[in-house]
């Protein structure tokens, strides 16, 4: 269950954001759509616990995360949230597999079988021992999805996952994200300005 109420945020008392309330029962996915500069990334960071809201509440799976300390948020994040960024980020000194192992280490888990099955599922098993800068753009995107889901999060947050993709790949990525979410029992929240994505989601919120 994901619930927000009366969320507000401001940057240095200069830029003010007010966000519509979100209400998701378990199993539901959500699309948050809005044009640039309207606070999409801010909302995603609030949901991920990377930012603290000025007022309002965020309830994720029974936890009021606006009340958690920074240390508690780190712990909450590694157990519950996976983030797919607009531009994929990796630890560049590590291979794809080592990146996933690092994510597992941080979450105090160790499961090479899971890493293998995720890579297989995303069709990049053969890239497991490659450094991430040797991957193509599409492979990078899939590897970053792997990184988001390797610790079996309950919530997958995706920030503009399709903005730089053509129609075909846009469809592929959204399908991939939804498939992974269903397969691993996570809820998916996609934040985008890309209206092509709209048709794939039953539920959406406009900022």
């Amino acid at each position: 269950m994901i619930k927000t109420k009366g969320l507000k945020f401001n940057y240095d008392n200069q830029v003010f954001f007010e966000f519509p309330d979100i209400n998701l029962i378990s199993g539901e996915n959500l699309l948050i759509i809005g044009s640039s500069g309207i606070g999409k990334t801010t909302l995603l960071h609030l949901l991920a616990g990377l930012l603290k809201s000025e007022s309002g509440s965020i309830e994720l799976f029974g936890n009021e995360i606006s009340l958690l300390s920074s240390h508690q948020l780190d712990r909450f994040r590694k157990n519950n949230i996976g983030i797919v960024f607009q531009r994929p980020h990796f630890v560049n000194s590590l291979t794809v597999k080592e990146n996933l192992q690092l994510a597992q280490y941080i979450a105090k888990k160790k499961d090479n079988n899971r890493i293998e099955s995720i890579l297989k599922n995303l069709n990049i098993s053969d890239k497991a021992n490659k450094k991430t800068n040797q991957l193509s753009q599409g492979e990078k995107q899939r590897a970053s999805i792997a990184l988001a889901i390797v610790n079996s999060p309950k919530l997958i947050l995706a920030d503009e996952p399709t903005s730089s993709l053509d129609d075909n790949n846009c469809t592929n990525v959204i399908n991939l994200l939804q498939k992974q979410a269903t397969e691993f029992g996570a809820q998916l929240v996609v934040i985008t300005h890309d209206s092509r994505v709209k048709k794939y989601f039953k539920k959406s919120v406009e900022l």
Binding site: H89, S93, L102, A103, A107
Partner: protein, 404 residues
């Protein structure tokens, strides 16, 4: 995977960026460690050869020269003294024991020393093969000499006059090798020793050949005989203050105290060593700055991946630890390689000294001061990573990710 492994991977991912700071650190640590090692090894070697010698008596001249020539066998003697006068001193009640030394010849650059059999005991050397000399012209050969020149029992050595290889050769009787010594790690290893009579005899015949026209008396008269120096051990250590002064004031002999002269020599050395180590410390400080700039730059370069690591749930502390580890791994590596560098340096200097001075300085033990260097390296690692680690700790991940 863990934070430590991650740090190692990060360092080796971009090895070039850390090379300069590492090289500077290796140089700085290496120079200091080399100086420490050489200082300690030379001191050990010097002290080892001083055992049992409280005072040296020889001809007037530089006291340091007297010590260097007759204790360390690396300088020319100050001259000769009369045997009679030397024996007067050895009969003094303050003298425990005395050993006569006579120079004059060398064999392929190795000194032939006429001396008493006590000389072998002084350095605790043992005869490996053969026996001690019984008569004139019989020699015992030190370990390094017989090993290097491949000398065996029964060999005959034709000596050269003087202490250099360029001396004039004695056409007379050659020396006969009767004994070979075991290694004793002291100066005796690089000497050829024989009885005092051998040296007197060879120079008598030598003089005869040259001066046969002159009417010269060559009796083996005690008053006429000369020796080069005499090593003396006192009955009581107290005598070291008074007795040398008496000799220097009341006779035309010179008395020098090796331990005093050597500490004077080390004071002279010390100045150079100190200057050089200041230079090395400056290099270490520069390496610290370079390391700091390195970490700082790489932190900026890697801000996205560090933000990523945080979003994966790593704590601020884990991220700071990663930076500190990276710095510590580099400085510890610098320390280890620096020590390795200094050991190669010791081997190099040792091979040089062995050629010119017949000295050998090989030791690979770690000195206490080198543990201090380890402490210094670790401290530099900590200090250099402090500011970057604090910056990482305070990093605003949301802002970095929103800036992409």
């Amino acid at each position: 995977m863990n934070i430590f492994k991650l740090s190692i991977k990060n360092i080796f991912n971009k090895p070039l960026s850390s090379t300069i700071s590492l090289a500077l650190l290796i140089l700085g640590i290496g120079i200091i460690s080399l100086l420490l090692q050489l200082n300690s090894l030379i001191k050990d070697q010097m002290d080892n050869n001083l055992k049992g010698i409280d005072m040296v008596v020889g001809a007037k001249g530089s006291p340091l020269q007297l010590i260097l020539s007759s204790v360390y066998h690396i300088d020319s003697p100050t001259g000769n003294i009369s045997l009679g006068e030397a024996e007067k001193i050895s009969k003094n009640r303050m003298v425990g024991s005395s050993i006569k030394l006579l120079y004059g010849d060398n064999y392929k650059g190795y000194r032939i020393v006429g001396t008493e059999k006590k000389f072998i005991e002084l350095y605790k050397a043992k005869i490996k093969e053969g026996k001690e000399w019984d008569s004139s012209y019989e020699v015992i050969v030190g370990y390094k000499v017989h090993k290097k020149l491949n000398i065996n029992i029964g060999d005959e050595l034709v000596s050269l006059h003087g202490l250099r290889e360029t001396g004039e050769s004695h056409d007379g009787e050659p020396f006969k090798v009767v004994g070979l010594l075991e290694p004793s790690n002291s100066v005796i290893d690089q000497l050829i020793i024989t009885s005092p009579e051998s040296v007197w005899d060879i120079h008598d015949t030598h003089d005869h050949n040259e001066d046969h026209d002159e009417d010269h008396d060559h009796d083996h008269d005690e008053d006429d005989k000369e020796i080069t120096a005499m090593l003396i051990k006192f009955k009581s250590p107290m005598n070291i203050i008074q007795f040398p002064r008496q000799i220097n004031e009341n006779t035309n002999l010179q008395a020098a105290v090796p331990s005093y002269e050597i500490s004077r020599l080390f004071k002279l050395f010390g100045f150079g060593i100190e200057t050089l180590s200041y230079l090395a410390y400056i290099i270490i400080i520069v390496s610290g700055f370079s390391l700091f700039i390195n970490l700082f730059n790489s932190m900026n370069e890697r801000k996205y991946e560090m933000a990523l690591i945080r979003t994966l749930g790593a704590s601020r502390f884990q991220l700071s630890r990663m930076i500190i580890f990276e710095s510590l791994i580099l400085t510890t590596l610098g320390f280890i390689l620096g020590l390795l560098f200094s050991r190669f340096g010791v081997m190099f200097v040792s091979s040089l000294m062995e050629e010119s001075l017949n000295y050998n300085l090989n030791s690979f033990k770690i000195l206490i001061e080198e543990y201090w260097l380890l402490g210094l390296s670790v401290s530099i690692g900590l200090i250099c990573s402090l500011i970057p680690a604090i910056r990482v700790y305070q990093m605003n991940i949301s802002k970095i990710l929103a800036d992409e």
